[in-house]
């Protein structure tokens, strides 16, 4: 029936995280000094798991949808075909493997992304990055190493990095 067909329309697979609309200032008053606007956290999309501020979890994450973290996560996050976003309040102590990783909060641990790692102005990352591309905004904090890998070299580079990590300091 034509009305049944219409009811079956599906949401597009793996939509990108949509940034929340910035609030429009209603009153314009001169400010004594400029105040930096905090970056707007991306809003959770229809196929995105959201870990809220009050959530603290420990363990291994894997799956097939995007993840937005505003809480605390410890362990391993493996979402090879998806985007992991660590929001401004997010605190992650984990190895992160994803297609794309966006950091506005804090990450301690190695990040591996097939496509891109973005560390935004408010982001704080301590760990090694292995990715097809890296963008670090001015003002972000980063301590660790960055290696750019081409498509197809990702797996080999990841295992090499893991074995290198065994031998660090003299």
């Amino acid at each position: 029936m034509w009305w049944e067909k219409k009811a079956r329309t599906e949401a597009p697979p793996n939509p990108e995280p949509v940034p929340a609309p910035k609030p429009t200032p209603t009153v314009e008053t001169p400010m004594p000094e400029p105040i930096a606007k905090p970056p707007a956290p991306p809003a959770p999309g229809p196929q995105q798991t959201f870990l809220g501020r009050s959530v603290a979890v420990r363990g291994q994450f894997s799956g097939n949808e995007n993840l937005l973290i505003e809480g605390q996560v410890e362990g391993t996050i493996t979402l090879e075909d998806n985007t992991v976003t660590v929001g401004t309040n997010g605190q992650v102590k984990a190895e992160v493997h994803a297609r794309q990783v966006i950091v506005l909060g804090a990450v301690t641990g190695n990040i591996s992304a097939q496509e891109k790692v973005e560390i935004r102005r408010s982001g704080h990352v301590v760990g090694d990055i292995l990715s097809g591309a890296v963008a670090i905004e001015e003002g972000a904090y980063f301590k660790g190493s960055i290696e750019i890998v081409r498509e197809g070299e990702h797996e080999a580079a990841r295992s090499a990095a893991a074995s290198n990590a065994l031998e660090t300091r003299p």
Binding site: V134, E138, S145, E147, I148, N164
Partner: protein, 208 residues
């Protein structure tokens, strides 16, 4: 904690020296022309421009700002119980990011050797050299003895061979200038190349 610096942090003003072509970097990239992926440690503070240029060169980059926490009044690195303050070398060496031994092609130390007390230089250079592979290069900028101030000047890459810098500050260098002979003694093997600049500084390459 030192964030990644960008154009807004550069403080380029009319007092800032004009970017200059670094003969040391020209030599360095020619020396490494056959290395498609040099492994690099930037001792910081790290500029976005430098990161992007080195990543485009195909480098693997280790980042850790060792310069910003170095002011002589930082209590983390000084024991002041005795009559004379003692520099806690081991505490300072902990600021070096974890790097596999013998893996690095280049270490960009910038003004690091000018800002560390002389009694800690040997341990510092020994530790940094341990990270270099054979043939690896320690790049440092050293002030000439006649240049008393500019301890807070920071450098970044405008291109692989052109360096820009912040305006020369009036903060004096805290220790006497490191001589070429001292560098030759510090670098294992003593293989050192020195390039003079017009900014009152020497570019020094210590080759392992």
């Amino acid at each position: 904690m030192s964030p990644i610096k960008g154009h807004a942090d550069r403080g380029r003003s009319k007092d800032a020296p004009a970017p200059f072509t670094s003969r040391a970097l020209e030599w360095l990239w020619q020396y490494l022309r056959d290395d498609p992926q040099p492994h690099i440690l930037d001792c910081g503070p790290v500029f976005q421009s430098t990161l992007n240029i080195l990543l485009r060169r195909g480098s693997k980059i280790h980042v850790g700002d060792m310069l910003t926490p170095l002011p002589p009044d930082n209590p983390t690195f000084w024991a002041r119980e005795g009559k004379k303050p003692v520099f806690l070398t081991n505490e300072f060496l902990k600021t070096i990011p974890p790097v596999p031994v013998g893996s690095l092609t280049i270490i960009f130390g910038w003004h690091l050797l000018d800002l560390v007390p002389h009694e800690a230089l040997e341990a510092l250079v020994e530790r940094l050299s341990s990270f270099l592979r054979p043939g690896g290069v320690l790049y440092c900028m050293l002030r000439e003895p006649h240049l008393p101030t500019g301890a807070e000047i920071y450098w970044w890459m405008e291109s692989l061979t052109v360096l820009g810098s912040t305006a020369d500050t009036k903060r004096p260098f805290p220790y006497p200038a490191v001589t070429n002979r001292e560098v030759e003694r510090l670098v294992p093997g003593g293989n050192v190349k020195t390039f003079l600049t017009r900014t009152g500084r020497r570019e020094v390459l210590g080759i392992k």
